[in-house]
Amino acid sequence: MSDRSTLRLMVFGVLVISLLGTLLGRLFYLQLVTGDSYRQSAADNGVREIVTPAVRGLVLDQVGRPLVANRTSLVVSVDRTVLERQPDDGVAVLQRLAQALGSDPTELSYRLELCGPRAHRKPPICWNGSPYQPIPVAKDVPTVTALKIMERRTAFPGVQAELEAVREYPEPYGVNGAHLVGYLGPVNEEELAVQKAAASTDPATKLRRNDLIGRAGAEREYDAQLRGKPGVTRLAVDKAGRVTGTLGTVDSTPGSYLVTSLDARLQSVTEKALADAIATARKANDPTTGRNYVADSGAAVVLDVRTGRVLSMASYPTYDPSVWVGGITAKEYNALISKENGLPLTSRAVQGLFAPGSTFKAFSTVGAANSGMGLNSSYQCPNVYRAGDRSFANHESRGYGTISLSRALEVSCNTVFYGIADTMWKSAGGLNAKPTAADPIATAAKSFGLGSRTGIDLPGESRGRVGSRAFKQALWDERHEAWCQAAAAGYPELRKTDPTQANLNTALDRENCTEGFRWREGDALNAAIGQGDTIITPLQLATGYAAIANGGTRWQPMIATALVRSNGKVIKAFTPKATGKVDASPATLAFLRKSLAGVTTDGTGRSPFKGFPLDRLPVASKTGSAQVDGKQSTSWFASFAPANNPRYAVVAMVSEGGTGSGTSGPIVRKIYEALFGVKGQSVNPASGVLVGGQPATTLPKVRSDGTPVVPAGQEGSPKIAAPPAAPAPTAAAVTSSASPGSASAGTGTGAGGPDSSGGFDGAAVVATVSSRAGRPRRGPPGRRGHPPTTPARRP
């Protein structure tokens, strides 16, 4: 045979032997060089953690009434991975399940879809959690139904019924407070990914797949503290999940209780007064439009002016936070996000932005004083103010001739403030003023916190803005290119259908393009009476009026007063936080307090306080009826009381609600009546809604068993949702049969019966298994079901 053949054979032989050498080298590397890390992985591999979620902390009001508590609920959940293994992808199972639960199979299947472009529904209907995790589809299932499902395992593969700790809203005094307390939702993949990227190693705050986390309100703001630390039992298991031993147990630490400055009783009064006022407004005729008031939304805020603590805060429309418990249905969710229902998820008090109207005049007054205008001088209040070739009318009032500034506030004379603003505008240089020229009114308003976030401990606060020369310039810097382009294009699409409007738009854009940065005379005049570019939240206005009342301190509004452990030990007390001093002299503030008291006795604020003992309890107030293009005016009533020794600031607002005194005034009056115990002409704070007649000065007590102590007779008949008739043994039976194949994982310790003392439940919780490796368990189909469950009772 040829040499070539033999040579190639030898080369081939060398190649083959070197392949085997490669294997040896790799083997050496794996076993002898990096072996240690693999040994750790192997040790972890055989470990499963049974996570017992911590009992979430309660949210209490200032005297200890639970606003948010816990109870147990029988929740039915479905494991998609098991359904997908059915020959028909689980269609028949869902049919049967829908029938058993009395719901619609299509709706049920939507809830099992993973959120994404292919899902029929948006979150939170579609499932935002892990695809390997059973998805809850029904809550508060009657025991009979749950048993029916669990007894017919073969007819319901992948379906389980379990006791879970869920949030409960005891509603003392019928309080709602949805925008304050918020709600919970399942943790989603993104958050888990963020956490993974952040490599947070603190096991106490680590989010796990089955966790519920706060999605709004205090539940979100104080989520980490309320959530507590889950208990972890480490079990040795084989790949199929068979338990071979227990490696260790760490008990769960219940979440802290959040004590708030809110008062359930006052909150209830506030909510009711707001809702009543809106109902009344909707029956009243708006003389301007000839229609009834739309009164689509509203807000009311009560602050302690000495600390900035929020005593109550209502937003209309609101929603029932319990719809989120155990998963929200499509119908419920659509109701929450529908425009027709007025977007009830939005807190008007914290997130809503509205023109403040005449309530802004208090800050314009400060601006005038700061720029050297006399507080005691005389001002002209004609019916119409002429600036250049334009006329600015007194909207709410007639002309009053020559009057004092105090009187101008009382009667809310627009033309006086037009005059003040015009003087300032001209002295700053008029149309050609530099963007940096003095703008005393805007500067004053900003120092009271308008146009910036107050920093309240609630998520999603809006910033708002104060109209000014600087704002106008900034807006033009940002937008002028778009304006110029639109003007050049000339709205070709719109022109085909509506050439008039197209011309109008083009002209407007052209003007904005070339002149949009100018702070025109009209802008300055409008800004002085809280119109134009200025939009603020009701909470900002309340903070501003509280600063007038307390002598110039801007407090950061706060709802939290303390975090308390479930055994009563105080972990953290939140002290009031001042964010600054306002830009006003004590004399100016004193002038305002006196003048605003006059508004209630002799001015626009008088009518809602007819018959109110103002001599014993003077109230300082300012009305506002802000004009909104294409809508009815926004009704405002800002106030504080007692005017001579202020304690509370109260602001009410109703969008499309008409005049301030007509619609919002009665809200404020009802709140003061409740706060000060006003009956007829008598004033007795001790008989008011606050226990002891004033905001609580001490923290509520929490017994060592976790029950908050509420003063006798002040419980407010909390609504304790009837537990779903699930006596302990039954519940244990249901949960244990829910997890075949996880036999020894500890069941039947006796589920906690509902413990209704103190208006909340002692919390039976369901333990869940999560793989330490973060992977779904891989077992034979039959064993892949839900993890073992351990109904555990908090000690």
């Binding site: 045979m1 040829s2 070539r4 053949s5 033999t6 190639r8 054979l9 030898m10 080369v11 081939f12 032989g13 083959v16 032997i17 392949l19 085997l20 490669t22 294997l23 040896l24 790799r26 083997l27 050496f28 794996l30 076993q31 002898l32 990096t34 072996g35 890390s37 693999y38 040994r39 992985s41 192997a42 040790a43 591999n45 055989g46 298991v237 084989d238 790949k239 199929a240 992977r775 891989r778």
Partner: protein, 393 residues
């Protein structure tokens, strides 16, 4: 070299047969045989350990897989004995028949009632009494013989195969390979056969451009297949998951990671037989066949796993030695094909256990549990012995 038999009539036919037997036993390549037997027995122990946790209890006998593996090996040795004794010329003569029959069996896997689908591959035949067999394994043998026949034909003298011979050989291989790739999605087998062909064409003495062309062609084909999505997603997943085990969340990377953990867990001396937590906890899938090396690695450590590789090295060394010393081109090519087959299959299998090769589901010769594979590899040993004996005559 040949033995001149004494031509005295005092020797009976029985004496001749006894002589023949003696010389057969004396002339066998005992090193090769013992290495292969050692691998088979070692495999039986590993299979025994691997099956104790999950499979064996289902059969109601913890030693079931141990016994079956030893039985398979015994049958394989018997087959090897028969093959080693087949007349060389007869083998050449029947090669076309063998090829056609093997291919028909391969096609038969798609016949309803006979063909069986296991683990997603329609690659099995139901044989009464034997359970299931995988004709693809026998196809490898038939291909080796057929290619050797074509490339060695008329060229036992000192001439190289013509281009047309090489083309014929390639065509012979291409048809069943296309079928296996298309209908059985068995990339592992196709890679092995590709290696066999390249090795055999090279050793046949064909022009160098053929060898280089085939190597380049293989690389290009792989790149094109990935680039133009000719492979199923899971095929790409299998091929790429070994690059980054975290990248692909499907089973492939899970298996790779669990295998690496098991092997890394073993250290120098291993956790001890039956003591590997990964093995006994069934974290590594199919560890009685595809991932058998993880059992050796975890329970018997570097020493135990290296022993497998060393024994395979001995088989390969003897195979190449036989090829080098073969009397004719046919024998040399058969030996080369067998070595290419066993060595590359071993590399693919162990490589995937060690995370340096894609997960393709090929068994480890002699060691992995499975009848067909055991029979086929022992037949391959028989072929090597046959070539060896002919040289010894």
């Amino acid at each position: 070299m040949s033995y001149g038999y004494p031509t005295t009539y005092s020797r009976t036919r029985a004496d001749l047969r006894a002589d023949d037997r003696r010389s057969y036993l004396r002339e066998l390549d005992w090193v090769l045989l013992i290495a292969a037997i050692a691998l088979s027995v070692y495999g039986a122990i590993l299979v025994w350990s691997a099956s104790r946790g999950d499979q064996a209890p289902l059969m109601g006998d913890l030693q079931y897989f141990l016994k079956r593996h030893l039985l398979n090996a015994a049958i394989g040795i018997g087959l090897a004995f028969l093959v080693s004794r087949v007349d060389y010329r007869l083998m050449r003569a029947y090669t076309p028949v063998l090829y056609v029959v093997s291919f028909l069996l391969l096609l038969a896997t798609y016949l309803p009632g006979i063909g069986v689908k296991i683990a997603g591959a329609q690659a099995w035949l139901k044989v009464p009494g034997l359970g299931t067999v995988q004709p693809g394994e026998f196809m490898k043998i038939a291909l080796i013989l057929a290619i050797a026949m074509i490339l060695a034909e008329k060229r036992d003298a000192e001439s190289e195969p013509r281009d047309s011979d090489v083309l014929q050989a390639l065509a012979l291989a291409a048809v069943p390979m296309a079928y296996i790739l298309k209908y059985q999605n068995d990339t592992g087998t196709v890679l092995i056969v590709g290696t066999i062909i390249v090795a055999m064409v090279a050793v046949s003495g064909a022009r160098t451009r053929w060898v280089i062309g085939m190597l380049v062609g293989a690389v290009v084909a792989l790149l094109v297949a990935i680039q133009f999505h000719l492979l199923q997603d899971y095929q790409v997943g299998r091929l790429t998951s070994f690059v980054d085990p975290e990248a692909d969340p499907t089973d492939a990377s899970f298996n790779v990671r669990q295998a690496a953990i098991a092997i890394g867990n073993g250290g120098v001396f291993g956790r001890g037989l039956f003591q590997g937590s990964q093995t006994q906890g069934n974290f590594v899938p199919v560890n009685e066949s595809d991932f058998i090396m993880t059992v050796a690695g975890e329970e018997l450590g570097f020493i135990g796993a290296a022993l497998v590789i060393v024994l395979l090295g001995i088989v390969v060394w003897r195979g190449i030695r036989i090829a080098r010393r073969a009397d004719d081109m046919f024998g040399r090519l058969v030996a080369t094909g067998v070595v290419a087959w066993l060595s590359f299959q071993a590399f693919e299998n162990i490589g995937m256990n060690l995370g340096i090769m894609p997960v393709t589901g090929v068994p480890l010769p002699f060691v992995s549990y499975g009848g067909t594979s055991m029979f086929a590899t022992w037949i391959a040993i028989g072929l090597l012995q046959n070539v060896h004996l002919r040289h010894a005559e």
